[in-house]
């Protein structure tokens, strides 16, 4: 695939993810990550990446926190921000 074709493919994939109700920012990050590992032949229809071990960083935890805020019911949004207090 040419560079222009890859760009067009990536844009189409972002749109497809957003149609699947994926947040736009996440959609772009996902496609960028997928595109980074595309082989030289750019065979986007069949390429499946194989990634190594998972690493949880502070940024990953922050993303999970944001996802929880978005998805939890209003009254429970701050549940996971609970501070440790002995309740006696």
């Amino acid at each position: 695939m040419t560079t222009d074709e890859i760009i067009a493919w990536a844009e189409a994939q972002v749109q497809a993810l957003m149609e699947a109700e994926v947040d736009g920012f996440d959609a772009e990050a996902t496609v960028k990550r997928a595109a980074a590992d595309l082989p030289d032949d750019g065979e986007v229809l069949t390429f499946v990446p194989e990634w190594g071990a998972v690493e949880v960083t502070e940024a990953v935890i922050d993303d999970a926190r944001a996802e929880f805020y978005l998805s939890a019911p209003p009254k429970m949004k701050r549940l996971l921000d609970a501070t440790v207090v002995p309740n006696g």
């Binding site: 493919w9 994939q13 497809a16 993810l17 149609e19 699947a20 109700e21 994926v22 996440d26 990050a29 996902t30 496609v31 990550r33 997928a34 595109a35 590992d37 595309l38 986007v44 229809l45 069949t46 390429f47 499946v48 990446p49 194989e50 990634w51 190594g52 071990a53 998972v54 690493e55 949880v56 990953v60 935890i61 993303d63 999970a64 926190r65 996802e67 929880f68 998805s71 939890a72 019911p73 209003p74 009254k75 429970m76 949004k77 701050r78 549940l79 996971l80 921000d81 609970a82 501070t83 440790v84 207090v85 002995p86 309740n87």
Partner: protein, 223 residues
């Protein structure tokens, strides 16, 4: 501004393993925490089912599907571990390592599923069932974070647990665990572990604290 409602704040007491309302100090009902947990699971099921369908239909490329699954599952594992642990501040290195380990094990499985879809080797029903299993794997994080943190209130008390069946089909293992009734806390496998249904399991636990001298009359029953 006058119409804004302050969102409730919470505290967590490691001595009891429970959440409390920061204002008033009342314990948060267990069913509310369960609703949060199952709400996250349901939301993931709906989101990833739609994603899987679009992947199966060829609208989403395999690499993109794998990447989005990876992102969503990692967040789900962390959220459910945090719900079980008592919040983000309570996550330990062990909790995080467990998330990393389980998701690292799942990565090749998700990639394998993507390869199977590309090859036309599985039906959409099988794809959706596998996605359900991956989500169930995340659900085990809640139990593995929570169970070591459960505490009895006094040395003369005993904490008991029993498995309850969820709203899904049940494998023989889960039926057997349910049939065992009340057992000392920490005895029974967590839902999703040591059962044929694996990540498809949606069973749960109930807990009761009884005087240790009375525990024998509870063990094996479903009273």
């Amino acid at each position: 501004m006058a119409n804004q409602v302050a969102l409730p704040r919470y505290t967590y007491d490691p001595a009891t393993g429970r959440y409390y309302y920061a204002v008033g100090g009342q314990p948060v009902a267990e069913r509310r925490v369960k609703e949060v947990r199952e709400g996250q699971v349901s939301e993931a099921e709906a989101a990833l089912a739609l994603l899987a369908l679009l992947f199966f239909e060829g609208k989403i490329a395999p690499a993109v599907w794998v990447a989005q699954m990876d992102t969503k599952l990692l967040r789900l594992h962390l959220i459910l571990a945090a719900v079980g642990a008592g919040g983000w501040e309570q996550l330990t290195e062990e909790d995080v390592a467990r998330v990393e380990r389980r998701l690292s094990d799942d990565r090749p499985r998700v990639a394998g599923t993507a390869t199977d879809v590309v090859a036309g080797a599985i039906t959409v029903a099988v794809l959706l069932a596998r996605v359900n299993v991956y989500i169930g794997g995340a659900r085990t994080q809640y139990y593995d974070a929570r169970r070591p943190r459960l505490q009895r209130s006094a040395s003369n008390m005993m904490l008991l647990e029993r498995r309850i069946l969820g709203n899904s089909r049940h494998c023989p293992d889960c039926l057997r665990y349910y049939g065992m009734g009340w057992q000392p806390a920490g005895t029974l496998p967590s839902p999703g572990m040591d059962s044929v249904c694996g990540g498809a399991c949606r069973c749960d636990f109930m807990y009761v604290e009884v005087p240790a001298v009375e525990a024998h009359s509870w063990i094996g029953t479903r009273r």
